[in-house]
Symmetry: C2
Subunit: 532 residues, 2 copies
Amino acid sequence: MAKNIKTRAEDYSQWYLDVIKAAQLADYAPVRGCMVIRPEGFALWEAIQRDLDRRFKETGHVNAYFPLLIPMNFLAKEAQHVEGFAMECAVVTHHRLEKDDKGGLKAAGELEEPFVIRPTSETVIGHMYAQWIQSYRDLPVLINQWCNVMRWELRTRLFLRTAEFLWQEGHTAHETAQEAQEETLRMLDVYAAFAEEFLALPVVKGRKTESEKFPGADATYAIEGLMQDGKALQAGTSHNLGQNFAKAFDIKFLGRDQKQQHVWTTSWGVSTRLIGALIMAHSDDDGLVLPPRVAPVVMAIVPIFKTPDELKKVMGAIREMLSSLVGNDEVQSAWDRSAGRQINQSASTQGWEAAAEKDSGGVVPFFFDRTTDQQIVLDLRSMRPGEKQYYWEQRGVPFRMEVGPRDVDAGSVVIKRRFDRAKESVEASKLTPGHLRTELADVQRLMFQKAAEHRQANTHRVDSYDALKATLAEKGGFVRCFFHPDRQAEAKIKEETKATVRCIPFDAQGKTGKCMYCGKDGAPEVIFAVAY
Amino acid sequence: MAKNIKTRAEDYSQWYLDVIKAAQLADYAPVRGCMVIRPEGFALWEAIQRDLDRRFKETGHVNAYFPLLIPMNFLAKEAQHVEGFAMECAVVTHHRLEKDDKGGLKAAGELEEPFVIRPTSETVIGHMYAQWIQSYRDLPVLINQWCNVMRWELRTRLFLRTAEFLWQEGHTAHETAQEAQEETLRMLDVYAAFAEEFLALPVVKGRKTESEKFPGADATYAIEGLMQDGKALQAGTSHNLGQNFAKAFDIKFLGRDQKQQHVWTTSWGVSTRLIGALIMAHSDDDGLVLPPRVAPVVMAIVPIFKTPDELKKVMGAIREMLSSLVGNDEVQSAWDRSAGRQINQSASTQGWEAAAEKDSGGVVPFFFDRTTDQQIVLDLRSMRPGEKQYYWEQRGVPFRMEVGPRDVDAGSVVIKRRFDRAKESVEASKLTPGHLRTELADVQRLMFQKAAEHRQANTHRVDSYDALKATLAEKGGFVRCFFHPDRQAEAKIKEETKATVRCIPFDAQGKTGKCMYCGKDGAPEVIFAVAY
């Protein structure tokens, strides 16, 4: 097969795009800087949404929906916010199209005041909260929104930075500063647990410096992951907005003390860039590698046969294994689902054997886990088995199983593990859901471990600016050092090294030392890295 | 308590808005014609999404995401489509804001070609399909998208017609005309089953006339429900687009016959207006009434007590009942979830009794069904029991249970059923999940039955135009008659009666008779109604 993916060593940036293309995760859209998330990619977002949404609900949050368009003047109400956000965004100025002279169309019906497509929703949500919140009894308000947002980015990159992207934005309002701070950190913990348990991505939790914080926040916290090329990726942020938006939008309540006061708000979000993080943290030169909990397909089954007799034998054995793995009812349902589609088109009701023979079986999905929609697929396309293996490999499916006549005779099958290419021979009778679940959990654990080891091997410690520069230039990775955060110093360091302070990590809280840049004592430990 | 909902008899339109307001389902946004879907309303949309998404996946569909913005020239490619859709829509003409002289903001960075916020996505999806589809082996493509869309509507109404709304749009591409037609009708069936089984809303399936069909479709099919005021509401549409969009966007494939040909496409959608249908089909003068399968909260428990001893006794009994209904683990989890929030604020760890006493318990949610996120809530707010009853009644919660000291002594509780106010006394020991599930299923069935009876009582048959006019004016409802669909005749009838042909119903397929309007034989049976 022609190699369609550059290696990481050859060209890391191209490798990233090739992995996405080979797995059919996304395409560029006919709108500059926007992407189309294809079904294979969107299934990853659905898995992420399902898991995160559960975590949000477990911590008492509810979902809602606020408008896409924000009146332009709203953006000007919070001074820092407008500087950070309002400048590059999509502006709606008209509400009608008319035919022009040349038979084309033109914008018409100019609006009195333009609207902006939300780059984030603090402003419009603040406006609504001001109406909903009257008394301390209305607090806390714990709302999340799943939606699309737009920022008119100049340099875009699939998943990592696109003009339109999908995300969730949590917006909460509280009675006290302490509660808002607790919420801010609670959600940071939720993100960290999600990243590590679900994405198998080890992250550092920490606070952002002033120059890296959210425009309009008192403090921003983030989780930072390390990619395989030694660059950092911010995977989620949680902001304590203090009373800044409450004051800008006049969100007041009557307190227990019978006095009117402003609420304390937070906001927190993760986006489809997590899919970029997933790809860059785990994939290899053969394509996508998915942690089992994220994988829409957990196992692909490829039948091997030459003669009609072999086909019959092999399909019989596969049917038995599937019955054990997903249950008889689901085998029947999958059949029914497919019957009206590919299989039935030419093979009528003669069964999968006929379907496989006549190239009309397609890929038949069986639900393995109904709570996550995760599937086992049976690949009945008329392609060579090697091509099918390659196809599922590039899509990062955790396990692949080939079943040929000799396997059926031996009563065992060989299962190939995507992430480390390990092969395991399993007695067909032992292929139970429990067995597969255990195997999946093992891979999940091992992938996290591998990523954690990579991070450890690529975390360095320096105590001078020269050492920082040298380490960033030669090794990359996370570079820890003592540093007094300072807007000007950070700008200069970024100019000279491309690196930024990723965070002031919680794991070094309380530790101080001599600033590697200004030489003064009492500097906190920070992590520098070049970031996506 | 002050009556905050007009009766249906007094003012049906105001009643509808009052029900929404009392249940806190939605608000108007600070953007003309747009709405904010509040958590109580959004939970209904989540329930709808969960159920429909499962049905889509069961029929072989996958989800994806296409861009929000559509290049203006795309809209002009399909002639009928542009007439129907392009004219009233939000137009993005700039990509930047700048400060103006007065310290405000103004649009800047004019785009070479404007973009339109999608009113529907046939065009941009057609553009992508043209790139993805090469051979018959790439077919069928069965994709759905959950997203927001905008149409600059002049007259808006919460849920029923808003400038921005949420929906799903399925877009499929097929090898043959027959397959496309099968898909179109399959999805109509999915919608009908969903409406009847999930929303408890009986619907008529049928085909739209030429004047009512989707701009760009060969044929449009719809499900039509009847509201309590005798008006029809179109609850879902499925379009056979023939090769119209395939030709406009050049979506071609190499067929089994080795010839290049255009694909056959379909599209189908339902939107947040289903929430409007839910409200108008089932609610009463006291507020929202929810079919159990849609209800985010299936039961609300209200403790009744006067003294601390009574409180202790009552809370002990409630705890036991909850353990039986949701399991001990969930009782503990709910406690943990609430501990960091309301309860702990002032009551520390002294328990729910203390929380209820001190007005810090709030509403504690317990997950009753993890596959649907449906909850049982325990209302520990410091309001009078009557107020709490009223609160949950207006929110349409299917069952309410008050537990007082006398109930504890008697070893039984009284459960109030929202939809028909029936009361049932149940031995506390018999309050099992199975019992509650049976009760919920009963209500679901009875609500469908009631709506079906209402429809039957409000379906009329006429054989002359005079009778049609009189029936529409005096009775409303669905009016069936033989009629030769005709653009001019339909426009005239609409002008004179406000009614339109809702559909040519499948249930009268093959039946023909003398047209009540033109008098010619061979007319199909149609349904006229005034519609939302």
